[in-house]
Symmetry: none
Subunit: 222 residues, 4 copies
């Protein structure tokens, strides 16, 4: 893989690096790859136009770097949620994951924004690969939850695993989209995307899932 970041950037004082990453992240999240303007990024970073090219090979280089940065943040979250809920049962873990996701996009809206932008933008460099990385994280995460749930007998043993991963992924991802795109309120049945209602809605959804996925209770007389 070709280099994208120059050592010059990594030698920069941390706060300067942070300012640049922040500016680039904002711009890419706002406009997508092609439409993002390096002029805007340098203006917000307070650096000269030429400097950007001392730091990165080109526009794609900047993008790939901030994307990597963003992915690292997400991955850290997933690992942390997974580890901190190891003892919980499947449905609790699912709920905790969903709530953690909601909290994350509220705290890092640009990171979620950059992912959404890339989803359907053909022009993004190495898009196929970037998307697969993200989706793979999600799929692995859900697989892991499912396996544990099955092992513990919390889920119907005849569950078609692949389809269930897909279903959960669609649901979780869309739920997060709905939380960031007001237009989705209508399919969420909300008048307004406010946090309180979202949480209620989340619990109802999990209830539906529980019915569809959970193992039947043991016969009463046993």
């Amino acid at each position: 893989m070709a280099e994208t970041v120059r050592p010059t950037f990594l030698n920069l004082p941390e706060d300067k690096q942070a300012r640049i990453i922040e500016a680039a992240l904002s711009e890419f999240a706002d406009k997508g790859y092609q439409q993002a303007s390096l002029n805007v990024i340098v203006a917000h970073s307070g650096i000269a136009k030429g400097s950007l090219y001392q730091y990165f090979t080109d526009k794609a280089g900047i993008f790939l770097y901030v994307f990597d940065f963003a992915i690292a943040v997400v991955r850290r979250l997933l690992v942390q949620v997974k580890d901190s809920t190891l003892e919980e049962d499947f449905f609790t873990r699912l709920e905790r994951s969903l709530l953690a996701g909601l909290a994350f996009i509220r705290q890092h809206p640009k990171i979620y924004g950059i992912y959404l932008k890339i989803l359907f933008d053909q022009q993004v460099p190495q898009r196929q690969e970037l998307l697969q990385r993200v989706r793979q994280y999600a799929a692995d995460y859900l697989h892991s939850l499912l396996r544990q749930g099955l092992a513990r007998g919390e889920l119907r043993p005849d569950l078609p695993v692949a389809s269930t991963v897909f279903l959960l992924d669609a649901l979780l991802d869309r739920f997060l989209q709905a939380a960031s795109i007001p237009a989705f309120d209508v399919v969420l049945g909300l008048d307004q995307a406010n946090a309180q209602v979202l949480h209620t809605r989340a619990r109802e959804l999990l209830e539906v899932l529980r019915r569809g996925l959970a193992a039947p209770p043991p016969p009463a007389n046993l």
Copy 2:
């Protein structure tokens, strides 16, 4: 709301209108709003650049017009699927809807493409409103299916309707996305997005849903 299309356009011979709509639809579906080039559109329509501005107010005007056009096509499909399955039970209607959707994006990839492009593009004019219209159609459609299913006793009577609409919408929409975006293979559990496997997967998913949503069978001894 300001005018977007000029009467001049509507007085044009139908085939000329069609050529222009087709060219614009292709370009917007391919590149998204900002990235679409009017030069490409006029080149493909075989009209002069200046003429475009006799027909529409500006770029946004063209976009909004073809988007309306696309929505009308979708709406016609939904109505038709709804009407032609009135007699079926809920789960059959759902399956037929999903298959109709798959057939539609294979037949009208540009229309589906323009929707996907707009989903997360902040720069699209009146995006909020356009998206709401689309999502509203889907929500209404699913509500209608659900209501009939409940009325006929095919679904658990205690189903939280709004959450279920959301769940179904997420699932159907994501399923269609997966059919057009190879990167989703991984969460679909596919090695390759081929039509045969997609149909199998669709049936498995519906089975999970049936378990989660269907009314319990009446007690045997009654």
Copy 3:
């Protein structure tokens, strides 16, 4: 071969075309291909930057067009000199050619300049091909002169034709270079490249050639 000029340019009023060709020719002759600045060309033509791209596909397109234009001028000269000296003997034709060349570069210094620039500039688009066209004209021209001279018995019949073409080409071309590049005065034996001395020098050179190439006089006693 890809298009380089757009019809737009050819539809322009002739004086506007002429101003643009003139400006481009000047700039390319002055700076060579890569170093030439489109900014300078538009400034001298008095047109907007964007207009250049309505007229030509890109920088290479502009260059190739003015090069073609220049070649056409040169070719017209060669044809005219050739035709107007058909009755003369070989050495007279050579002298007339040399003088015509001197007159030409004095009248069209930019056309000669663009040729010189391209000679050693690796970056020129289609350089190999362009150069070959120019050299081929010269070679054909000299071949034609030589053939006639041989046919008329004005030249030694044992003359190695290819080598002689090369020798004449080198001499004529270098002579013209010397006339445009003062630094060559030193190998021309001039203190100053003034027209009078150049003509004298030309005649001396032709004398040397005559001795080397002319057929020996017939035996005296015949």
Copy 4:
């Protein structure tokens, strides 16, 4: 004349100097003066960008220094060829010079390349002067050969010396150009510029020259 090289450079270890000269020579020979990039030079030299400005005043300074260096190499060759052929007759010396030239450009293509690049590039600093130095060497060299040939009676006594120097210079220089620029094949009468054919062609040319320049043989009966 303003200083171009700084003492700092001359105090550098010889191998470091050599690396820098080599890198600069390569770049200038490859791209010409303006198009050459100091970035490339520092990258190939393995020194820091700032250091270049400790060693030389500016880009022109670097160029002039390596040009001087290149000229010194050429001059050494000329002296050596001249001295090692003192005993030969004029035409042999000429042939040996031509072959030495061919060998030289094969061995030092960059030095010959930098000369070719500069020949017609108006932007080169002090171009006029640099070119004159080079041409002066060639003229002096040929003058010296001619004088000796005349003194020994190997050449027609009525030879116009200045014109002959010009003729020889044109021929030799163009021959070398032809050896490096494929486009010249056509005036050399070659299908392919291969070394074997070049040598044959060289001998034919010298034969033509011999006829034009050599003194007539003494009357047989004396």
